[in-house]
Symmetry: D2
Amino acid sequence: MIRASIIGGSGYTGGELLRLLIHHPKVEVIQATSRQKLGEYVYQTHPNLRKQTSLKFTSPEELQSTDVLFLALPHGQAQHDIERYAELAEHIIDLSADFRLRNADLYLKWYGEAHAAPDWLTKFVYGLPELHRTELRSANYISGVGCNATAGNLGLLPLIRANLLDRDKPVIIELKVGSSEGGAAVNPGSHHPERSGVVRTYAPYGHRHTAEVIQEMGLQNVTLTMTSVGMVRGALATVHGYVNEGVALKDLWQAYRSAVAENPFLRVVKERRGIYRVPEPKILAGSNYADLGFDLDPDTGHVISICAIDNLMKGASGSAVQSMNLMLGFEETLGLEFPGLHPI
Amino acid sequence: MIRASIIGGSGYTGGELLRLLIHHPKVEVIQATSRQKLGEYVYQTHPNLRKQTSLKFTSPEELQSTDVLFLALPHGQAQHDIERYAELAEHIIDLSADFRLRNADLYLKWYGEAHAAPDWLTKFVYGLPELHRTELRSANYISGVGCNATAGNLGLLPLIRANLLDRDKPVIIELKVGSSEGGAAVNPGSHHPERSGVVRTYAPYGHRHTAEVIQEMGLQNVTLTMTSVGMVRGALATVHGYVNEGVALKDLWQAYRSAVAENPFLRVVKERRGIYRVPEPKILAGSNYADLGFDLDPDTGHVISICAIDNLMKGASGSAVQSMNLMLGFEETLGLEFPGLHPI
Amino acid sequence: MIRASIIGGSGYTGGELLRLLIHHPKVEVIQATSRQKLGEYVYQTHPNLRKQTSLKFTSPEELQSTDVLFLALPHGQAQHDIERYAELAEHIIDLSADFRLRNADLYLKWYGEAHAAPDWLTKFVYGLPELHRTELRSANYISGVGCNATAGNLGLLPLIRANLLDRDKPVIIELKVGSSEGGAAVNPGSHHPERSGVVRTYAPYGHRHTAEVIQEMGLQNVTLTMTSVGMVRGALATVHGYVNEGVALKDLWQAYRSAVAENPFLRVVKERRGIYRVPEPKILAGSNYADLGFDLDPDTGHVISICAIDNLMKGASGSAVQSMNLMLGFEETLGLEFPGLHPI
Amino acid sequence: MIRASIIGGSGYTGGELLRLLIHHPKVEVIQATSRQKLGEYVYQTHPNLRKQTSLKFTSPEELQSTDVLFLALPHGQAQHDIERYAELAEHIIDLSADFRLRNADLYLKWYGEAHAAPDWLTKFVYGLPELHRTELRSANYISGVGCNATAGNLGLLPLIRANLLDRDKPVIIELKVGSSEGGAAVNPGSHHPERSGVVRTYAPYGHRHTAEVIQEMGLQNVTLTMTSVGMVRGALATVHGYVNEGVALKDLWQAYRSAVAENPFLRVVKERRGIYRVPEPKILAGSNYADLGFDLDPDTGHVISICAIDNLMKGASGSAVQSMNLMLGFEETLGLEFPGLHPI
């Protein structure tokens, strides 16, 4: 059994990690820290874990050495203590945005301040197995992924891999996201009477996750447009782009089928009839799947690629555990078998 | 035109009052105060009022004399300044809980502290026209109503007025309520991911509005059980009681029809078929109607009376404006004509 | 008083029309037809109208002559009987798609069949006052508007009027819509367990309302991408386009302010802080407002224009009543004063 | 490996069974039938199972012999074919209402028609392990449970077992339920615009599940009052009763703790602070837990017991699999480890 510890276990990402790791057949969670919930039972913060664990939150100062250390802190913190964490554990997976970008300039541009540990940026592998499976198998340090970036990147993946996309034309990624993206902390916009049933295009441009699409897809002219909608979990990316001349629908089919064949958590959802014709995030709650769909306007070359994920799973903790499995030599899908619910 | 002012205009009750009064054909709103939003446009806090009013929030210290003064402050404040308010306006309508109870002991029991202005308690008329229409016509001081108490009281009204209810047996009022009942201030339980789709029986006993049912219905053995459910506006009371011996369904029909005939905002909803057979709060959003339904188990005498309201309208600001209309000699329904939406 | 009749009054559009016309100070509704609900009270189908009207649904065969006739039938029906309707009423407003397009070829292309009354197409004025106010004042026949087209057209209006948009570049309109768009008839995809909390990009291309954007905005390269989200009423259009070279944010401000100044039901929502910074459909339920927002990426010229409406109001019955007001010489805003609710 | 087959696999209960059995380490699903979806892939009906199974729906006529046969048909069908089913499998679990009641008269009273196979009624064990664990271990035929009855029965269980409840006084069970209770078939009341955000007390009395509470708890004076609320999965029972004289809160604590200690899927949720103080169905989606809470009014003896479940799990398919585990000698919790999600 591998010993795992979680720093910052009281947020939604931390809670999802705890759920996954407590049920993981190869992992024993030995510690979860939270300054705010210090001394309380984990299940008092994550009520689904009642009768599942008797773990209590400890102080981050009392952190013991461990086999794999998950960092689930707010953005901007891990980079200041990474040296100390590296002394405590051989394997680190950081779910914040601190080590997602390989380039300190790109970090400065999108996060508005200089990175505190720029030398560490290149030591980390971006923790999306669909993009970096081989490198993850030999990694010691893995960064998490931005949930919105992941929906966009996986929506683009088949097009990019098969070289079908015209990279000179603009790519517009319209993201529809649930309220859990905002985290567990209360704010005026998350107050239920204000957030219920909302359709709020809160960030037309400039969302930080754009940087991860630029880096991972090698695209320059790409926009993420963010709209909050009426759900808790889930993100849907509707990716608008243009295919290279001559690309036809059958080429898309081939590209998507190929991506799905190579990746256990990718699925194509493209049915001609019935009510489940396109990817939908709602049935993915708790699941690590990313569902992909697509369509092509042959007259204009306008391609629409759709990707649905659970932002807390494939978009955060699920990809982190999948990456851990690769890093530690476990079966890639271990502990991630829950398929999601229907109806929900 | 009557001049109206609102103290505490930035909450949900204050916002609903502003919406109603701005459109009221006999009223001119001259002032709305808010310490928190001082100097801001009213529509920045109540976005539905954009392009409807250029009013800005002023300081409560700058309050001018006015014809009718609405107090929409948090509970426990108005009683400390009531003398000052009475100098500013001949007519006062307080929407908080401060002047709902006629008896200082009852206030002490349910609110846990002595009332600061006990002499004023008997000067106020309880602002539910269905119970106090005549007194309201000659009142100067009107208290608001508790939203949950109102759903319970109106559900009980036909049974009490027709003397059908066995007062010795327990009355259990099961209330299902929306998130706007908690007010505009954020709290951890109102965070959208925690509040969405909830069914939370948060107060099995002891809700303060119970005191208003005791006072207004003359009942002693009555319980309010509160459950939050997945909606923003609305309250549904399912009232369980027992009828006097010999009471039959036709007696109930007569009692409810009579109540509806006497009160412009009461309706009976009791259809045999279709999908609108029982009262439902959702179609009442923005409306001042209270919809009533009922059923009787003839074997046991168990009667179930159902009342649906919009907690911010009939349960707060709507009843306040209706009471104002009576006090000032206007048509009772003036400014309250909006019938609610379907679908919604 | 003008006499109005409604053919096809049992759907959601018909219900909304009835709500508006029953409260309209210049209109008396003399007849509403429904084959399916024949002989039933209107309020049994539209429960918000209980105690508001004692009208019953009559047969369309028994239609009497009237001053203004509203047609709220499913698409494809009105064009077959338009001659008969024209004999019954001098003024006709058709809310279906039958007479929205001026060109029979465009109709054939988007609706897949030849129009049954092509000569009538040019007799109708497109019923969006923001586009055709002057013509509506002298019209006898008015077509309704597509709800999604309206969100898109009003989002584009300031850019087009001020000639800021580069018409050679593609325009992508991402629409997020509620479940009432599908109408009152049940279907498997509208079953609550399947529809609740959904984010479903059900029509990437080819939505019929595209034709109305092409016609009214004079655009060729325009796509409507439709996504169902978790709400009942409302539509939000996020319009992506590119401005002409040299256009700056201040030009956009001027264009939007100008549009708002000329049109009583347009508002700009673009705040720097607070939680109501952008247009949101939820607060528009029941209101005839269209709220507009915008943003510009100065580096690329990518402009995002946002338009929120209530699909049953500004997107259907509200615009129809507003157009009627113009046609009959009433105040444009008459009967459309309800500002929407907050919170909701 | 045990071979399992499901008759009627296309409904929500059948889908949940399929999800559980496909992941069950001791079970191989060899057949699932559906007349309506004959020949289609199971994942086209239950989209969460895509890439999980290549099973197709077969005809019930082609049913092969199997080890354990699950019947997930609409109520009233299994009783007509039970002889045939018993020839096909040694072990049968029927999830419909056909074999829940032991007494043909009780069936007649609550279901309004004579039972077609009354001799079989006593051969079945009621499939709620918390009530019949020992009998289930030696059963061949197991009935499913009514979801609402289960929420009521488990809420009553600690009080009944510890003999704390005054059986002469009325018991009122207020149930708040989600839309999945109505099954996968569309109906006008389940149309999203009509069902979204609803609070609809659709059955004040007479719900058929009452019979299961009468039978299993030995109560006579018991009412189930049913209210639909705004969620898809989940049921919450708020049970109102009266304790025997002298019973104090500490007796309740002892009774509930004892029930929880004996049953792996029962939990007590009764915290003094935080936002997870009481049982809530939302975090139970997909989980087999039943969460229990309680409170006592010492002045009147009024006890309120609260039970939250997922209606499709503990209220249907989860209890069925748990019962199967007992019948077949497996670990009781096998295949039921999913703890539910937070947030959701």
